[in-house]
């Protein structure tokens, strides 16, 4: 029946809808927008890690305008924290204050006719800051006598709590275990570094009492809610519009204090105000990712069975708890077990305030740290026990027939075949032929594996862990009177291609050509409410699930109307390629355009059927969706320079149903690139007193094309059983598991230093030093 077969839009490499405008310079990023009468802002920031503003004098300049810390504080309410840990005392943070706690902290705003003039004005402000003692490192900050980030506090302890099995239970397992692998890992700070920095334009309309904010953001509604709260407006008075967003990676998932200042300036001046973050600001004013010590241990039985894994985490939250606060350390804990069986799992989290930029969300959110700790420990266990790293993993992995399974950290892994991904990469590594040998170059291959927490998440679960953001998404699908299809969703595009994949899901499930579908995102005035927005690899899983639901419901309604008009059971009809057909036939049974026109006129409808051809579906998933992957890498290590070259890279992954393979591959490769950056190059360096030392792309190195190998990607598709459409998230996996993959390959190449591979980046200087200390240089 070849006539019945038609290519599905789900699984097709549909060209991305936003490519043409991005390739022709017709994109609309926030800095591309200019409004009549618009003025420009420059933010005044602390240049000291700690201090107190003793005096602030703006001087007099008729063409310029400055708001100081006291005025801003008086005119605003504090920005709330949204992820609250047990016992967390700090629940919000001021928009501006005279108390300065990190370099980059905003405390005032200057506005003038151009950006350059605004910077001139900012420089002309006379600010006297009394320096205070400061501390940059979390462990230093927790030492007795350390300088206090909050002078009124007894210590720099921000929050402390435990997850999983108790330390007594864990101690008992470790005391009796035949083998214990124990290491202290250091996960440094990462600067998210989207190529487009943050930025916004705020415009106040006094007549309608409305504030319109064009912003580069991943979470328009969340930003709207907090702007309204901080400025004492009602939510309906604030409209946030996000256009093209030049990458986010977690850094644009809430409103920042400097952004609230810009809104306040626009309201005060009654003129549109633009502020575009510069790159230097991005390095200190945009929240960082990571920054934790993990003192971790793995207990292994005689036969290689894993018994327990435990980590004592010392996390650096920076100068104040960010909107997500200790969330990354919590996620590190709950995902620590990965794909393996453990009898006991537990962590202790101690989070410290320091005089550094607050830490928040960045691609991989806690899971990159968990994978680093676990997969290095497992690799070390294989080396110490003389076992194959593949066999040791295989022996301890959940088998597919064990799923679904509840872990010791209360994650109910859903579906898939973890061992299949492991075996496939192992086979690809076995078939690999490394480059010809050279005397002072070592070759090594390694792999690492993980299960990932994506598609945040059931709202009840989020509430349970103190994350005060609803976990649902809503999608609206409307067939307009002319038969075109409008889709609106609360998730946000930032380069990942969600506009295209949502269109594919709607076209497929509604039964219309994709050319007829238009997806609109990012405008709080038209998009359905989204509490969490596009974070946590949730857009396709939660928002896409809602799109599948809404499109299917609208299709069913159209078929009910058609059935009524044709006097045929709707069950005998289908909607295919924009045509209503009797099943099994290839010609339309009626004119759909006519049906649509008549329906919007309120005519020819079955009893009780409303005339609108619009359906809104709310999708609150029953569970997290858990994709998984094994990655493999082949590396060359130059013994004399410490330089690492990644020669080959393999990925076997399962993110459930793949909507657009090309986009999924792009997410994986881009994710691996950021993971390779973590593995080999990236580290935001602070001095012991919190002085930032890597604040440009010349001293904070991003991976270049020349650092990235060719990829070999293998996909499996085990649908998420609880997600309409079956998709699992794909945004972060590459970043999560690439660092231990590369480190394990380096360990195989240079086993003399394997036990020292506990800290990233494994750059030339670190590796050369380790190899030198291991006696690998003749001198």
């Amino acid at each position: 029946m070849s006539l019945m077969q038609r290519p599905s839009l789900v699984g097709a490499n549909v060209q991305r809808v936003n490519d043409p405008r991005l390739l022709t310079g017709e994109g609309r990023f926030v800095d591309d927008i200019n409004l009549p009468g618009m003025v420009h802002a420059s933010i005044l920031r602390s240049y000291l890690p700690a201090g107190r503003i003793e005096s602030f004098e703006a001087g007099s300049n008729a063409e310029a305008w400055v708001l100081g810390p006291d005025q801003i504080a008086a005119a605003t309410r504090e920005i709330p924290c949204v992820w609250i840990a047990p016992g967390q005392q700090q629940l919000s943070n001021p928009v501006a204050s005279r108390a300065l706690r990190y370099v980059g902290q905003p405390f005032a705003i200057a506005v003038a006719g151009s950006r350059a003039e605004a910077e001139d004005v900012a420089e002309s402000v006379a600010v006297q800051i009394e320096p205070l003692e400061s501390v940059g490192d979390a462990r230093d900050a927790l030492m007795p006598g350390a300088p206090l980030v909050y002078q009124e506090a007894a210590s720099n302890l921000a929050v402390e709590f435990s997850i999983g099995d108790t330390s007594e239970e864990l101690d008992a397992v470790f005391a009796a275990a035949p083998h214990v692998i124990e290491r202290t890992f250091r996960i440094p700070r990462i600067v998210p570094s989207p190529m487009e920095t943050r930025g916004l334009i705020a415009s106040w309309n006094p007549g309608s009492s409305e504030l319109t904010v064009w912003m580069s953001t991943q979470t328009p509604h969340h930003v709207r809610d907090h702007i309204a709260l901080c400025l004492g407006l009602r939510a309906d008075q604030v409209r946030v519009i996000a256009g093209d967003v030049g990458g986010g990676f977690g850094s644009k998932e809430h409103v920042y204090a400097d952004e609230v200042m810009v809104c306040l300036a626009a309201m005060t001046l009654k003129r549109p105000v633009k502020w575009i973050e510069d790159r230097l600001e991005h390095f200190t004013a945009t929240f960082h990712g990571r920054d934790a010590y993990h003192h971790a241990r793995l207990a292994v039985d005689h036969d290689g069975t894993f018994l327990a894994i435990q980590s004592t985490i010392t996390g650096n939250v920076g100068a104040h708890l960010s909107n997500v606060g200790t969330g990354p350390f919590r996620v590190s804990s709950i995902m620590l077990p990965g794909p393996y069986r453990f009898a006991k799992v537990g962590t202790r989290i101690t989070a410290a305030f320091t005089n550094t930029t607050p830490t928040g969300a960045y691609r991989g959110f806690g899971m990159q740290e968990a994978a680093w700790v676990r997969e290095r420990l497992v690799e070390e266990a294989a080396r110490v026990l003389g076992k194959s790293p593949v066999e040791l993993r295989d022996q301890n992995m959940f088998r597919s027939d064990e799923l679904p399974v509840m872990t010791r950290t209360f994650q109910e892994y859903d579906s898939g075949d973890y061992r299949r991904a492991l075996r496939l990469v192992a086979d690809r590594i076995a078939a690999y032929r490394p480059p010809a040998s050279e005397p002072r170059i070592r070759r090594g291959v390694g792999l690492a594996t993980h299960v990932e927490f994506t598609g945040l998440g059931p709202s009840a679960s989020q509430d349970f862990v103190g994350f005060r953001l609803g976990g649902y998404e809503t999608t609206v699908v409307r067939m307009e009177p002319d038969g075109s299809v409008f889709v609106s969703s609360g998730v946000m595009g930032m380069g990942q291609g969600i506009e295209t994949t949502l269109a594919q899901l709607v076209a497929e499930n509604l039964g219309v050509p994709i050319e007829r579908v238009r997806v609109q995102l990012g405008d709080t005035a038209s998009a359905p409410y989204s509490a969490a927005g596009s974070i946590a690899s949730r857009s396709i899983t939660v928002g896409g699930g809602a799109a599948v639901m809404a499109a299917s419901h609208l299709r069913d309604k159209l078929l009910r109307i058609a059935g009524h008009q044709l006097e045929i059971s709707p069950a005998d009809l289908e909607l295919v390629a924009g045509e209503v057909r009797v099943k099994g036939e290839t010609r339309p049974a009626l004119d759909l355009e006519h049906l649509v026109t008549r329906s919007w006129l309120g005519l020819d409808l079955p009893d009780g059927e409303s005339p609108d051809l619009e359906h809104k579906s709310v999708h609150d998933p029953k569970n997290i969706a858990y994709p998984y992957a094994t990655h493999g890498a082949a590396v060359s290590v130059d013994l004399d320079t410490g330089q690492v070259t990644v020669d080959a890279y393999w990925v076997a992954h399962d993110s459930g149903v793949v909507v657009n393979p090309s986009i999924v591959d792009g997410q994986i490769m881009g994710g691996v690139a950021q993971g390779l950056g973590i593995a080999l190059f990236e580290k935001m360096i602070y001095g012991p007193e919190g002085d930032p030392r890597s604040t440009t792309f010349m001293d904070y190195l991003l991976p270049l094309s020349s650092n990235l190998p060719r990829f070999t990607l293998d996909h499996f598709e085990t649908p998420a059983p609880h997600i309409p459409g079956g998709m699992k998230g794909i945004g972060e996996g590459g970043t999560i598991v690439a660092p231990p993959t590369i480190a394990n390959a380096i360990a195989a190449a240079v086993p003399e230093i394997a036990d020292q591979l506990v800290e990233t980046p494994l750059n030339a200087s670190r590796l050369w030093t380790l190899m030198h200390e291991a006696g690998l240089h003749d001198d």
Binding site: D19, G495, G666, M669, V672, F697
Partner: protein, 156 residues
């Protein structure tokens, strides 16, 4: 402090004669005075390559040039390559190979590849020597390399 100077150049085939504040960068001039917002500014210190334009056929960082330095030059930006309904082969190739995600760095990369094409630079040389002069945070570069390869050596 402003010091306004007169200058003229050709931008995307049109003669421009205007006055600018002397401290205005070429990137800001193109974006703010001419409304050519396809040229993107990301690091403002010549590292990332997002703002790359063609000046007399050479790919240059427009954030490191003053607008005044364009005097007498033939300037081309991404807007010159091909319009929404008539993408050039280069643009089509980047889309077909999924060589862009957020698209912020893309115009600069396109201009570098365009300059290389005119200069007869090989695909290998572009990939090995020119592409590492551009930062892309989204793609992992592999698809960009494929697009360059397909565009410059379609028969390979």
């Amino acid at each position: 402090m402003t010091d306004v100077q007169q200058f003229s150049c050709t931008v995307n085939g049109l003669q421009v004669s205007t006055a600018v504040d002397t401290r205005t960068s070429a990137a800001d001039f193109l974006r703010q005075e001419l409304g050519l917002t396809g040229t993107h500014v990301s690091c403002e210190q010549g590292v990332c390559g997002s703002c790359t334009i063609l000046v007399d056929d050479a790919a240059v960082r427009s954030c490191l040039l003053l607008a005044m330095q364009l005097h007498g030059a033939v300037v081309e930006t991404v807007e010159s390559l091909g319009g929404l309904d008539e993408l050039s082969t280069l643009q089509q190739t980047f889309s077909a190979e999924h060589g862009l995600q957020c698209g912020f760095c893309t115009p600069g990369i396109l201009m570098t590849v365009e300059a290389a094409k005119r200069a007869g630079t090989s695909a290998v040389a572009v990939v090995d020597e020119l592409l590492p002069g551009h930062l892309c945070r989204c793609t992992g570069y592999d698809n960009i390399r494929k697009a360059v390869q397909v565009y410059l050596s379609p028969e390979a």
